[in-house]
C-alpha cells in the first residue's frame, strides 16, 4: 500500500529522555485520524517527525512510499500557536504559501487564489488585516487557509483549536469537517488533540498514545456515519460508550504512570 503514511518502529529521545518508543502506524490516504493522548505522551513530537521538523533516532517514516527526510510541501501543518507571520497581512501569509507551492503563478494570481481560500474559511472581512488585528479563532482560520493553500494531500494538525473558546472551537471543527468532506480526493489528516469529544467527532479512527515513553496503547475505528450531527451524535449511546471506554483507557494509563513513580 503506497498511498499511505507509514511509521515503522519509531524511537525518539531528547536529552536521554525517551519520548517515543516503537511506534508502528499505517494511515491509508484519505483517512481522518485523531491522535489522542495525555500531555507528555509525545503526540506533538510524533507529528513533528511526520512534518520532517525532527528526525527519529530509529525507525522509518514514509508518505506515499517516499521516505520523509525533512519538511516538504506534500505535508501541510497547522500549529496551535497561530504561527502566521505577524509582519505580513493575512492575504500575504497565504499568498507566500501559494508562491512556494505553485511558483509558476503570478503575483495577482496568488492574491486572487489566497482571497478564495480566505473566503472558504469565512475570513472575507479580514483579507488585508494583520494578525494582531484578529482574534484567536480568526487567526486559526487563516492558518487553516494557509495549510489548504499549500495543496498538500496530507494535513498535520497539532491541537489547532486547543487555545480557542468552546463556541469557536465547535465552529472551526465544523468548518474543518465541511472542507474535508467536500474535497475529492479526500485529504489525509492527522489531528492531535487531548479532547476525547473532539477526537471522536472529527476522526475516522482514534489512535491513543500512552505516556512516558509514548507508544500506541489503543487504535480504534470510529464508525459513525459522515456528515455527523454534533447534537444527535453526542447524545447517542454508541458515542457515549466509545467515549467511556477511551476515557478508561486514558485513566488506566495515567494510573500506571502514578504507580510506576
Amino acid at each position: 500500500m503506497s498511498q499511505s503514511l507509514r511509521l515503522e518502529g519509531i524511537d525518539f529521545s531528547y536529552d536521554a529522555q525517551r519520548i517515543l518508543a516503537g511506534i508502528d502506524l499505517t494511515i491509508p490516504a484519505g483517512q481522518f485520524v485523531s491522535l489522542l493522548g495525555a500531555s507528555g505522551s509525545g503526540k506533538s513530537t510524533l507529528l513533528r517527525l511526520v512534518a520532517g521538523l525532527k528526525a527519529p533516532q530509529r525507525g522509518r517514516l514514509a508518505w506515499n512510499g517516499k521516505p520523509i527526510s525533512g519538511p516538504g510541501l506534500d505535508r501541510g501543518v497547522v500549529f496551535q500557536d497561530y504561527a502566521l507571520f505577524p509582519w505580513m497581512s493575512v492575504v500575504d501569509n497565504i499568498a507566500i504559501a501559494i508562491g512556494k507551492a505553485r511558483p509558476e503563478t503570478g503575483k495577482a494570481e496568488r492574491r486572487a487564489e489566497a482571497v478564495d481560500y480566505l473566503r472558504k474559511v469565512g475570513l472575507d472581512a479580514a483579507i488585508d488585516k494583520y494578525p494582531f488585528e484578529l482574534s484567536g479563532g480568526m487567526r486559526q482560520r487563516a492558518a487553516i487557509a494557509r495549510a489548504l493553500a499549500l495543496g498538500s494531500p496530507l494535513l498535520l494538525m497539532d491541537e489547532p483549536f486547543g487555545a480557542l473558546d468552546p463556541v469557536n472551537r465547535a465552529r472551526l471543527q465544523d468548518l474543518l469537517l465541511e472542507i474535508w468532506e467536500a474535497a475529492s480526493p479526500k485529504k489525509t489528516i492527522v489531528f492531535v488533540t487531548h479532547d476525547v469529544d473532539e477526537a471522536l467527532y472529527l476522526g475516522d479512527r482514534v489512535v491513543i498514545l500512552g505516556s512516558t515513553p509514548g507508544r500506541v496503547i489503543a487504535d480504534l475505528p470510529v464508525e459513525f456515519p459522515r456528515h455527523r450531527d454534533r447534537r444527535s451524535l453526542f447524545d447517542s449511546t454508541a458515542f457515549h460508550d466509545l467515549r467511556e471506554s477511551i476515557a478508561e483507557t486514558l485513566a488506566a494509563d495515567t494510573l500506571k504512570q502514578l504507580v510506576a513513580v
Partner: protein, 278 residues
C-alpha cells in the same frame, strides 16, 4: 544628550497612565498633570540655574556663561551659518550612517543565520567592535584623500558595529515557531532571509540603529574638530577659538536640537515599521 533624555522621559511619563484611564479617569488626569509639572519643572530649574549663573557670575565683559538672551540673539544671528553647517555635517552623516545601516543589516543577518560565518567572523568582531572609533580619526584623515571621505569612514565605523551586533542578535532571536513555519512552507535562501529573518530582527535592528545614530553624531562632531572647514562641530570649535561664548553655546544648543530631531525621526520610522508588533 540632555535634551534627548528629558524628551524620552516625557514620553514615558505621558504613556504610563493610559492603561488606567478607563477605570479611574480622574486619577489619570491628576497623574498626567503631575507628569507635566514634573517634566516642566526640570526645564524651569535648568533655565533658572542658567539665569542665576549669568547674573551672579558675570566675570567681566565676555562671560564664560553668556546670558540666555545674549545666547538667543547669537543663535538667531548664526542661523544661516548653522544651516550651512548642518548641510555640510549631514553630507557626512547620512552616507556614513546609511552605509553602516545597509552593511550592518546584511552582514548581521548573514552571520546570525549561518553558524559557519559566525565561527569565522565572531572572533574578529569581538576584537574589532570595542575599539573606540575615535582613535581611527587621525589615521583616516591621513590615509584617505579628502577630509569628507575620512569623516564618512569614521561615522560608518561608529554606526556599523552596534547595528551589526543587534542584527545578529535579532536573527538569533527568531522564534522557533516562525522558523518551523518557514521550513514547512519551503522558504529558503534570499526569500527566507528577506521575508522572515529580516522583519523578525527589525526590533533589534532599530535598537542598534538608535545607538549607531548617537555614535554617528559624536564621531561626526569630533571629526569636524580635527579638520573640517564647515559643519556643526567645526562651528563650535571655531567660535571657541575666538572666545565668542554666546555663539559657542548657541552652537551647542543647536547641535543638541538637531541630534534630538534626528533621534525623534528615527523613532517615528521605527514605530511605522513595527506597527505589527502588539
Amino acid at each position: 544628550m540632555t535634551t534627548e533624555s528629558i524628551a524620552l522621559e516625557t514620553r514615558e511619563l505621558g504613556v504610563t497612565p493610559t492603561p488606567h484611564a478607563a477605570s479611574q479617569p480622574s486619577a489619570s488626569i491628576g497623574r498626567r498633570l503631575t507628569a507635566i509639572v514634573e517634566t516642566s519643572l526640570v526645564w524651569v530649574v535648568l533655565l533658572a540655574g542658567w539665569l542665576a549663573a549669568a547674573e551672579y557670575f558675570p566675570l567681566g565683559d565676555n562671560p564664560l556663561i553668556p546670558h540666555p538672551l545674549v545666547t538667543a540673539r547669537a543663535l538667531w544671528e548664526s542661523l544661516p551659518e548653522l544651516w550651512t553647517g548642518t548641510l555640510s555635517s549631514f553630507s557626512i552623516l547620512i552616507p556614513g550612517f546609511v552605509l553602516a545601516t545597509l552593511l550592518g543589516i546584511v552582514s548581521g543577518i548573514a552571520v546570525g543565520t549561518s553558524p559557519r560565518l559566525q565561527r569565522a567572523l565572531f572572533p574578529f568582531a569581538r576584537v574589532a567592535a570595542p575599539v573606540p572609533p575615535t582613535v581611527y580619526i587621525p589615521y583616516a584623515i591621513a590615509v584617505l584623500p579628502t577630509f569628507k571621505l575620512s569623516a564618512i569612514f569614521v561615522v560608518f565605523i561608529g554606526a556599523f558595529w552596534p547595528i551589526f551586533q543587534n542584527a545578529v542578535a535579532g536573527a538569533h532571536a527568531l522564534e522557533e515557531r516562525y522558523r518551523d513555519n518557514a521550513k514547512i512552507l519551503g522558504l529558503s535562501g534570499f526569500e527566507y532571509h528577506w521575508r522572515v529573518v529580516f522583519p523578525a530582527a527589525l526590533p533589534h535592528i532599530f535598537s542598534g540603529m538608535a545607538v549607531g545614530l548617537g555614535f554617528s553624531f559624536i564621531l561626526l562632531t569630533v571629526a569636524e574638530l580635527f579638520g573640517a572647514n564647515a559643519g556643526l562641530g567645526r562651528f563650535v570649535q571655531y567660535y571657541a577659538d575666538f572666545a565668542d561664548y554666546p555663539k559657542m553655546v548657541a552652537g551647542i544648543l543647536y547641535t543638541g536640537l538637531i541630534t534630538f530631531l534626528a533621534m525623534t525621526g528615527l523613532e517615528a520610522i521605527k514605530r511605522r515599521a513595527l506597527f505589527w508588533q502588539r
